[in-house]
Structures are given as structure tokens and as C-alpha cells.
């Protein structure tokens, strides 16, 4: 395994996520723009102009380049496992200088910012060991404004699915323009407090418009999207028909006494990239 090559490709993936918005999101923004008028349309058109400026200039589409987040699904027999954490951290340090990224890691007690986007537990790396010898790394750099609009509801199971819907719609609408709408509402239902929030975040890896494979979950996604869009909050919270581009739901079985619901919002600058590495060291950035 060539360490230097993997670090180089990880930097390329961070650059891609930060500067090139995925086709699925661009298409959804264009469709929304065509459906809107007035101030709402000005907001969406400005977003699309910004996407072009970022891509053409290879510069971060948003100045909040986020907390660098890596969702790693690594095969138990992947030969490069022992050095992967250090390669990811080195890539973050290098990307901070080369792209550049905003230094976004602040010590919670002293306020000190080391300036390299690295710190205690950051970059955030989620590890899942799977079968095989391949490694898939999903990048989800996440801005502070949208992350501040995450929520956890430990609901009483008696409120049922209606209560779940109310909690989600009330929360997202209550956030109004703060998370830079129209974005993607990630929802995790069940599990426990930590698991539902993690599932909510993982659901954001799915492309905009891609439905959950189970029909009843898929129809709940569409229903919630339409309910939220009926609120009138609109692009950037300035009024309009488009408050979210999509709702994604993942679920886990729950404790009989618990109905945890996690919400993680992703802003319209829904930055993602993926790196795949096979056992022979072949690397692909998608």
C-alpha cells in the first residue's frame, strides 16, 4: 500500500466534496428554483451561481468548510487498516493548507484553535468493520449552522407515529432559516439516544431523491418532505415553497419504553465525496 498516494487521493476527495456540489443536489436546487418566484427564486439562483463559481475556481462553496467527517466501512482483511487513521489525519492537515479549509477546531474550554482542523476526536471518524478486503470512506464535511439544528427527542412510545411526525415537522420548521434551507433532513428513529442521531447522520449519505428500500419508510419520507414544504419557510427562511429538498429516514429497533427520534439537518451545500480502496491499493475518488 502506497501511503503517500492514499493521502494525496484523500486530499483530492476533500477538495471535491468542498468545491463540487453533487449532481443530485444541483438538479433538486434547479427544480426548486423553477418552481419559485421573487425573493425565494433570488436565493436559489444565488446558490446555483455560487455552485458554479466554486466549481470553476476550485474554491470551497461555503466558507464554513465544516468539521471533517469520515464514515469508514473497512473490510476485516483490508491490508492498510493499521495506518488508515493517521493517513486520514494527515490528509486533513494537508487539505487545510492546500485547498485551503477554514481552521474549525476549537478547544471547548480554552478556545484555542490549533489551526489544522485536527483535535481531540476530530476529524470525526466513524468505523464499521465489514467482511472482505476493501475499504470505502464516505466524506461528509458538515457546517456548524446546520449541525446546530440537530435535535434529539426521547418521545413516549404512546405518541405513536403521529407524535414522531409532529416532533420532526415542528423542529425543522422552528429552525426556520438557520440551517440554510432548502437542505436535507436526516432522521433516525429507534435504537437509543446516540444511535438514532448517528442513523440520522448516516442517512445523509444517500443521494437526494433516493428513497428508503422499505415502502412504508419511503412513503413517510415523502409525506414529511411535503408537510415541511407546506410551512412556507422557504429558501433561507425568507418565504417560499421549498423548505427542504428531501427527508431521509433510517431506523433501528427500539426499547419497549423508548421512542428515540434523532434529527440531523444538512444545509443546501450538501457536500459529500467517496473514496474506495481495493486490497491491491487501487484508489478511486467518486
Amino acid at each position: 500500500m502506497n501511503d503517500e498516494e492514499l493521502i494525496r487521493q484523500l486530499v483530492a476527495a476533500i477538495r471535491k466534496a468542498e468545491t463540487v456540489l453533487g449532481k443530485d443536489v444541483v438538479l433538486a436546487l434547479k427544480e426548486a428554483s423553477e418552481a419559485e418566484s421573487g425573493t425565494a427564486r433570488v436565493q436559489l439562483e444565488t446558490m446555483l451561481e455560487n455552485v458554479t463559481a466554486a466549481r470553476d475556481g476550485s474554491i470551497p462553496m461555503c466558507q464554513d468548510t465544516g468539521i471533517q467527517t469520515f464514515i469508514v466501512r473497512v473490510g476485516a482483511k483490508y491490508p492498510g487498516l493499521s495506518s488508515l487513521r493517521s493517513q486520514i489525519i494527515q490528509a486533513v492537515r494537508r487539505a487545510t493548507v492546500e485547498i485551503p479549509l477554514r481552521p474549525n477546531t476549537v478547544h471547548p474550554f480554552t478556545g484555542e484553535n490549533p489551526g489544522d482542523n485536527v483535535g481531540e476526536h476530530v476529524p470525526y471518524i466513524s468505523w464499521e468493520i465489514v467482511d472482505g478486503d476493501r475499504c470505502v470512506i464516505e466524506l461528509l464535511p458538515k457546517g456548524g449552522g446546520s449541525e446546530n439544528c440537530a435535535a434529539l427527542g426521547m418521545l413516549s412510545p404512546g405518541v405513536g407515529i403521529k407524535g414522531v411526525k409532529r416532533f420532526i415537522v415542528d423542529h425543522v420548521v422552528g429552525c426556520a432559516g438557520k440551517p440554510c434551507p432548502p437542505g436535507i433532513v436526516g432522521v433516525g428513529i429507534g435504537g437509543g439516544a446516540d444511535l438514532c442521531l448517528k442513523l440520522a447522520k448516516l442517512s445523509l449519505l444517500r443521494p437526494v431523491g433516493a428513497r428508503h428500500p422499505e415502502e412504508n419508510v419511503a412513503s413517510l419520507e415523502v409525506e414529511l418532505r411535503d408537510l415541511i414544504n407546506g410551512s412556507g419557510i422557504g429558501p433561507m427562511g425568507m418565504g417560499g415553497k421549498t423548505t427542504c429538498l428531501d427527508v431521509h429516514i433510517e431506523y433501528a429497533h427500539r426499547h419497549p419504553a423508548s421512542l428515540p427520534v434523532g434529527i440531523v439537518y444538512q444545509c443546501w451545500a450538501d457536500r459529500r465525496a467517496r473514496v474506495t480502496i481495493d486490497a491491491g491499493g487501487k484508489i478511486e475518488v467518486i
Partner: protein, 196 residues
């Protein structure tokens, strides 16, 4: 035709603006987020800011041989500054605040008293915003506060489109919109209850 305001903006020019107006700003503005607000309230202004535009922004900047350059510089969430913006405005009479997401009642009252407006720039549009910033003319408190929180003094040309969403007449788009959303939410709750 573009409505362009040149800094320093006078109190009268600010009072002539109304919710819904779209403007562009040319001249000087400075960034200040949570930490810079606190520090200016404690220690005073690091340079004269009266009549300028205050930008809620923590930019990405790069230093090359010619000095600092803006890379990406969109607005941050203004609501965080609501806790001290009224005191800030009364002490440092800027004429336009640029941010995203809007602000609350205390700021609205201060805008009316001082004669200033809150304008909204599309959140996340950092690459586009950078194109309208021609130069960084100065930076204050960089080593103490770090890149996002420092006070960056910017020279801008036709920075916008900025939508006036809170004016000096006590009008706020967010208040009006809030009433519409409140009505819509009653219908949404009914739909959920009926299981439609």
C-alpha cells in the same frame, strides 16, 4: 438598475431603506462574529467603524506574498449575535448589518433607534461573495481570535444581492413570515392528526 450604496452610509440613507429592497454595497465593511462582538464591547473599536457595513462572517483566507486574500466568505447565522447586537449598534453605529437567518426584537428596536438596516445574503454562497471582495485592507485580533473570529476589514465592490429584511421603521420580514408560518402549521398539525 442596481441600487448601490457607497460607504460610509449616512443615517438618512439607511432610514430610506425598506423591507424587500435589494441593495449592493461598495466601499468598506468588516467582519465580526461572536468573539469580536464581545471584544469590541469590552475594549472598544479597533478602527473607526461608524457608517460601515458589519458582516456576520468567518471567512476562509489565504496568505500569499502580496498579503491576505479572501478565498470564501459567505454569511454566518446572525441569531447568535442577538444577545448583544442592540448594545453593539448603540455604541458602534454601523448602517447595515449583513448576515443570514435574521435577528430578533432587540436588534429590530436598536435598528430603529440608531438608523440602520439588517440585510440578508444567501447563506453558503461563500465563493460568489469572495468575487465581490477586492481586497483585505486590514485585520485585527487575528492571533488572539483566530481566522474565523478575527475582524477582517474588506474593500468590496457591488457586494450583493442583499435583501433588506429588517428596516429602521420597525418592519421585519421574519415577523410577517412568522405569522404566515404559524397559520400554515395549524393546517399541517390537522393533517397529521387526521392521518392524511
Amino acid at each position: 438598475m442596481k441600487r448601490i450604496l457607497q460607504t460610509p452610509i449616512s443615517e438618512q440613507e439607511a432610514r430610506d431603506l425598506h423591507v424587500g429592497d435589494v441593495i449592493y454595497i461598495t466601499g468598506a465593511m468588516f467582519t465580526a462574529r461572536d468573539e469580536a462582538h464581545l471584544k469590541m464591547l469590552e475594549e472598544g473599536e479597533p478602527f473607526p467603524v461608524s457608517g460601515l457595513a458589519l458582516y456576520h462572517c468567518g471567512p476562509v483566507v489565504r496568505k500569499d506574498t502580496a498579503g491576505w486574500k479572501i478565498v470564501s466568505a459567505g454569511p454566518t447565522t446572525s441569531a447568535r449575535m442577538e444577545i448583544f447586537e442592540d448594545r453593539f449598534l448603540e455604541r458602534f453605529p454601523v448602517r447595515a448589518i449583513i448576515g443570514k437567518g435574521g435577528m430578533g426584537e432587540k436588534t429590530l428596536a436598536a435598528l430603529r433607534k440608531v438608523g440602520a438596516v439588517y440585510t440578508h445574503y444567501t447563506g453558503g454562497a461563500g465563493a460568489l461573495a469572495a468575487q465581490a471582495i477586492s481586497d483585505i485592507t486590514d485585520v485585527h485580533w487575528l492571533s488572539e481570535l483566530g481566522m474565523p473570529e478575527a475582524v477582517w476589514v474588506l474593500s468590496v465592490k457591488e457586494f450583493g444581492p442583499l435583501t433588506v429584511t429588517m428596516d429602521a421603521h420597525g418592519e421585519s420580514l421574519y415577523t410577517t413570515l412568522g405569522e404566515t408560518v404559524h397559520e400554515n402549521m395549524q393546517a399541517i398539525h390537522d393533517r397529521i392528526e387526521r392521518g392524511e
